[in-house]
């Protein structure tokens, strides 16, 4: 595990902002960190990156306890905060050079490193541009490049997509997927749930400082009892009843609804179970022209988890 927290708690005077948060991020994975405003996401992230001291609990980064050796920990992660500024009258290259100095990156090979990072974040043509004149999305990508200067294994990104247009968010997604393929562990918070759900391996959901869910979308979906929807498009309308019977016999379907030429049902099985059901229908003589499997989105899961009364755990 690149990052793990053990019962992390934070009080602001008597206000409990974070309560016993235990979670983890592995190598080569992207973990989404979601929750309503004020849930404690930024508080948790700021503790993880040594910008704030926890009231109790511990953070381990690459196995090193943060409270014992903050300096050693700082070399092991890259951080992109939700709000950040840049210095006036410097170029992108000078900006990266300064933070390379600050992170003790050797001068040898640094120019190639900076060029490579600018290429990764699609800012090669902005190498000599004044950083203050870059757009919000470009600054965000430059900040991401900054966080990678010392080649950390772990990235902690606090709402990096905030304020970005659709194209910039798409570029960010590709960059994160590229970093994941290089073995980086990424913890990312965002309010843009549909997009986050597309590339996260796992999500951690916070509500009022308490973790209410952790796992992949499928795991959380099953845990809270939500079911995926399957729709079969039939050719022969006379086969609807037979098809409905076979679907119910699978033991994993709920009520079956007819909608025009489609039979729709909620289904709790795995993808292998879906394949087996299709096989059963086909071998049972049902003529199927199409199958669609609609998974639960992160947005739907999030709303269901958050709207549950009380912070019940769904894992």
């Amino acid at each position: 595990m690149l990052l793990s927290t053990d019962s992390l708690t934070k009080y602001y005077n008597k206000f409990l902002a974070l309560s016993n948060l235990s979670m983890s991020v592995d190598e080569g994975s992207i973990v989404g960190f979601v929750g309503p405003n004020g849930a404690g996401k930024t508080t948790a992230m700021r503790i993880m990156v040594t910008l704030m001291k926890a009231s109790s609990g511990e953070v381990f980064i690459d196995g090193i306890p943060l409270s014992k050796d903050p300096r050693a920990v700082r070399g092991r992660f890259g951080y992109v905060p939700d709000f950040f500024g840049v210095y006036a009258a410097i170029t992108s290259e000078e900006y990266l050079n300064f933070y390379a100095d600050a992170n003790s990156v050797p001068k040898e090979g640094r120019e190639e490193l900076i060029d490579g990072l600018l290429e990764l974040v699609n800012l090669s043509d902005k190498k000599d541009a004044d950083v203050n004149l870059l757009s919000r999305g470009m600054k965000q990508r430059l900040c991401l490049a900054r966080s990678l200067l010392h080649d950390p294994k772990l990235l902690i990104l606090d709402e990096p997509a905030s304020g970005l247009d659709a194209q910039s968010r798409l570029e960010l997604k590709y960059i994160l997927q590229a970093l994941k393929s290089r073995g980086k562990g990424i913890l990312i918070s965002s309010h843009i749930l549909p997009e986050l759900g597309e590339y996260c391996d796992k999500v951690v959901i916070l509500k009022q400082g308490v973790k209410v869910a952790e796992g992949s979308l499928e795991e959380i979906s099953r845990a809270i009892g939500r079911k995926a929807k399957i729709s079969f498009t039939l050719i022969d309308p006379d086969q609807f009843e037979d098809a409905a019977t076979l679907i119910k016999m699978s033991g994993r379907a709920g009520n079956v609804f007819k909608k025009e030429m489609n039979l729709e049902t909620e289904f709790t099985g795995s993808e292998e179970d879906i394949a087996a059901l299709i096989y059963t229908l086909v071998t049972g003589g049902i003529k199927i022209s199409g199958v669609s499997h609609t998974k639960e989105t992160l947005e739907e899961i999030f709303m269901e988890v958050i709207e549950n009364e009380g912070p019940g755990k769904a894992e």
Partner: protein, 291 residues
């Protein structure tokens, strides 16, 4: 100017580079050279007219006071710049990224402090050839020049440390600047008031009990840069003992050393430690309340 490796860090290098590129640096240098040059020309003109060389001429005294005033401009300008260092990073929202880097809080503070200190020294050193003319007009000795430099270095560093401390403690640059100026002026004012009280008590004791003062002047004046500099120069011109020229056996000779050097150094250390603690989130006391 090459900084020793142990003291060098990214914040120091970055700060010095940016300062050297600013137009205000050139303006400050030109103003300083102009002002000191005016004093130099005045002194030469007076000497040529009156035919007087050596200590005590009006031009020499004026030149000395002008140099002292110029020092204060450099020190105050640097202090005002230093007051915006950490608070400016907070306003720009760049401090968090510095803290998350491999730089320690101590390196961040020392880098900021040293970049301001080296800048002030660079401005002063560039004008130093003009100061050297003091040898012609004021009877200033090399040891006297060394005393002046030591006293100046210590007090500039102290002023900058105070500015950095306030900058680290408050959120806004304006507040840090005001606090620095208030402290700077308040220090001088309090010092002056204490010196007046001292003199009043001395006069009372002398008049009432015929007790003569052990000291030639209120020693507390060494804590104030303005009066300290005047005493340094006056001591050199008038042949009095000052920082190091008095014998160490006499208690009075130790007073300038303790008040003029040691106490500002102690204040600087305390301010630096306070500033370092203020920018270290892991040592901040602003954490939990708890149940």
């Amino acid at each position: 100017m090459k900084v020793p490796e142990k003291l060098n860090n990214a914040v120091l290098t970055f700060g010095m580079e940016r300062r050297m590129k600013r137009i205000s640096t050139l303006i400050l240098l030109l103003v300083g050279i102009f002002v000191v040059g005016i004093g130099l020309i005045s002194g030469i003109a007076e000497s040529m007219v009156l035919g007087v060389f050596g200590g005590g001429s009006d031009a020499a005294i004026g030149y000395v006071l002008l140099s002292v005033a110029l020092f204060f401009v450099v020190a105050l300008f640097s202090a005002l710049s230093a007051a915006g260092e950490i608070s400016g990073e907070k306003s720009r929202q760049t401090l968090d990224l510095l803290i998350c880097s491999q730089l320690t809080p101590r390196q961040i503070i020392s880098g900021k402090l040293l970049s301001n200190f080296l800048y002030a020294m660079l401005i002063t050193v560039i004008m130093f050839p003009l100061y050297a003319v003091l040898y012609l007009f004021g009877g200033f000795t090399p040891l006297g020049a060394a005393e002046f430099i030591a006293y100046m270095l210590v007090h500039v560093f102290c002023i900058l440390s105070i500015a950095i401390f306030f900058s680290a403690k408050v959120k806004k640059t304006a507040a840090a600047t005001v606090l620095t100026i208030v402290t700077y002026v308040g220090w001088a004012a309090a010092n002056g008031i204490l010196a007046l009280i001292w003199l009043a008590v001395e006069n009372y004791l002398s008049y009432t009990y015929s007790v003569n003062s052990f000291f030639t002047y209120p020693p507390i004046l060494w804590l104030n840069q303005a009066t300290g500099f005047v005493m340094l120069f006056a001591g050199q011109i008038g042949g009095w003992s000052s920082l190091f020229t008095g014998t160490l056996e006499t208690f009075e000779a130790l007073i300038p050393l303790i008040l003029g050097i040691v106490i500002p150094v102690v204040v600087s250390i305390l301010c630096i430690r306070g500033a370092t603690k203020a920018v270290d989130p892991m040592k901040s006391k602003k954490t939990s309340g708890g149940i």
